[in-house]
């Protein structure tokens, strides 16, 4: 087995890893403030990809508007729209569940997942539609010195990493971020200091949703866009979150990246286990470090 094969699978794994990182980061941010797990996170990822696809290929056909939303515009439009959906969901539904057992938030977002998935499955092929809007600049391959790698994938990795670390920096090192952390630590006291905690909660949920939408846009040119693309991913991300623990932002990012890498390498050394390796790692973590690698028991 050549070093090239291993390196290219590692990079492909890292590519998957940045999606894991972005999604588990969103889940962790939402969990921190709202104490709920957003099952619909996968569906929002799917939604982001579909917004990009519809904006590029179907606007004219469906609505008769001669407008095409290109890839770059999608990177802004899709997260905003998905974030808006997040605002609506949080304001109209989740808000009423905060006093109840946290499992109701999970069940609600599960229901929303079914709705979104079912809606798209009515109009789009379950086996996937390719996204044709990949920009010209990002096509082709780049020479990394030791191997060639698709330009778009490299872009997706770098772009996602920048977004992840910007989020981390924002939360850990800015004034607004410190208010957010105060809200996580003690919402009542934060509110007493005159900060609008309900607004923070809404915006946080919207931000997490937007991140998922953004990941969806980035994934669209790589994978074919399908109604089920989020569902299978989100369960892996749940395992990532259990492994990493949701205590820290950096923990969520790093465990996402690392597990994507592990998955990629498993594809080289023992392909049949590539689907399940993360779940088995979760089992090991549960056995030896039940709170998760970066977690503190809550």
């Amino acid at each position: 087995m050549s070093i090239q094969v291993i390196m290219s699978q590692a990079l492909l794994g890292l590519n998957v890893g940045v999606f894991y990182a972005m999604l588990s980061l969103g889940l962790a941010v939402i969990f921190g403030l709202l104490n709920i797990i957003n099952f619909a996170h996968g569906a929002m990822y799917m939604l982001g990809a579909f917004i990009a696809l519809i904006g590029y290929s179907f606007l004219e056909q469906w609505f008769g508007i001669s407008l095409q939303i290109g890839f770059w515009a999608s990177l802004i439009v899709a997260p905003l729209l998905v974030g808006l959906l997040g605002v609506i969901i949080e304001r109209t539904m989740l808000k009423r569940l905060y006093d109840l057992d946290h499992i109701y938030g999970l069940l609600l977002t599960f229901g929303i997942t079914l709705i979104l998935q079912g809606l798209f499955a009515n109009y789009f092929n379950v086996s996937g539609t390719p996204y044709p809007g990949q920009p010209e600049v990002l096509s082709g391959v780049v020479n990394l010195g030791f191997m060639y790698f698709p330009t778009y994938r490299l872009f997706a990795i770098v772009f996602s990493l920048v977004v992840c670390f910007a989020t981390w920096f924002f939360i850990e090192h800015t004034k607004l971020g410190s208010r957010l952390r105060a809200g996580v630590e003690n919402p009542d006291l934060t509110q007493a200091f005159g900060l609008n905690v309900p607004l923070m909660v809404t915006l946080t949920f919207a931000f997490g949703a937007g991140l998922a939408g953004l990941a969806g846009v980035l994934a669209a040119p790589i994978y074919s866009v399908s109604p089920l693309m989020g569902a299978d991913l989100i369960i892996v991300v749940f395992a990532v979150v259990v492994i990493g623990g949701m205590g820290s932002i950096m923990g969520a990012i790093l465990s996402g990246l690392a597990l994507g890498l592990v998955e990629g390498l498993t594809k080289v050394f023992y392909p049949p286990a590539a689907n399940t390796v993360i779940f088995f790692l979760m089992v090991l973590v549960l056995l030896f470090r039940p709170a998760g690698l970066f977690g503190k028991e809550k």
Partner: protein
């Protein structure tokens, strides 16, 4: 008192159902009813939300199917083996999952169940995407031919009653009381000296085992074990059934399974809209109807009784 009336209603309905409705359809409902009852034992009484019960339901179906089809054992042995498999798997998953609480518990069970799903997809003996087909129904005790739908029906109804009886006895035993104490206040139950993890694990194993029994029976009825049974959406469906019927009520899951099952059946011509409608019911239930049908009924009954007394 209400429980006794409801039980008699259920018994009469169960015994006469195959004369009014298509027996295979009613058998399907019975399997899901038992599945939902088993799930309810865990969520409704022990307060543990498992998002991975499809692993036991679907896993047991594959094992039961394999044992009867490839090894030529009868349906009873097949179902018992499937159930036994669910017991072992439940012990394993339960041991791992109870290390985390609340929302993490749900995520862990979901992820563990996904292992079973992928194994079912990839292992050589499960038939991959096609599933395990043409499982023989065989003879019960050597002389009752289960290829007769009516005979099969009463066999399944008997299985359902056994499972239901076990759950009923468990809930109304001291063990069940402790489970409810843990659900209400885990720290207090711990301070009273109960070994909480032990109780949770027992509840998990029992729930998984009975879910497996339902899945194994389903494989024999339909002569087919498929990936759908092991898919996470099946785990979601059983949650919905329990929620619609009434979480933590004896008969709620049965009624919920019938409601959701009949609805999916009626709507099956609408394709993916079924999923949308189930999703909407999910959302509506969580937002406004958390007691479920039976729970709401009991609540009203109690309130009226209280009003009369005051």
């Amino acid at each position: 008192m209400t429980n006794r009336i409801l039980f008699i209603v259920m018994l009469v309905a169960g015994l006469t159902a195959p004369f009014f409705a298509y027996p295979v359809f009613v058998m399907d409902l019975l399997c899901f009813a038992l599945f939902a009852c088993a799930f309810n034992l865990l969520l409704g009484y022990a307060g543990l939300l498992s998002f991975g019960h499809a692993a036991f339901f679907g896993g047991a179906a594959y094992i039961a199917g394999y044992v009867t089809k490839e090894w030529g054992f009868g349906p009873l042995i097949g179902i018992l083996t499937g159930t036994g498999f669910a017991l072992v798997l439940g012990t394993l998953f339960g041991y791992l999952a109870i290390r985390r609480q609340g929302i993490y518990f749900a995520m862990v069970t979901l992820a563990l169940a996904q292992i079973i799903y992928f194994l079912a997809l990839q292992m050589p003996f499960t038939g991959g995407e096609n599933g395990l087909q043409r499982i023989p129904r065989g003879d019960l005790f050597g002389f009752i031919d289960l290829n007769n739908d009516l005979a099969m029906y009463y066999f399944v109804f008997a299985i359902f009653l056994v499972g239901f009886g076990i759950i009923y006895r468990t809930i109304h035993s001291p063990f069940g009381e402790v489970l409810q104490a843990i659900r209400e206040n885990e720290s207090r139950a711990l301070s009273l000296g109960y070994d909480i993890d032990h109780f949770k694990l027992m509840a998990f194993v029992l729930s998984a085992t009975l879910a497996g029994m339902a899945g194994a029976a389903k494989a024999i009825i339909f002569q087919f074990a498929s990936l759908t049974s092991a898919h996470w959406q099946t785990s979601g469906e059983v949650i919905l059934m329990t929620l619609v019927g009434g979480l933590g009520t004896i008969f709620g899951p049965v009624l919920g399974a019938i409601t959701v099952g009949a609805l999916s059946h009626e709507l099956s011509s609408f394709g993916s809209w079924v999923q949308v409608i189930l999703g909407v019911i999910f959302v509506v239930c969580v937002m406004t109807f958390r007691r479920g049908i039976i729970g709401e009924f009991q609540h009203r009954l109690e309130r009226r009784k209280n009003q009369r007394e005051t």
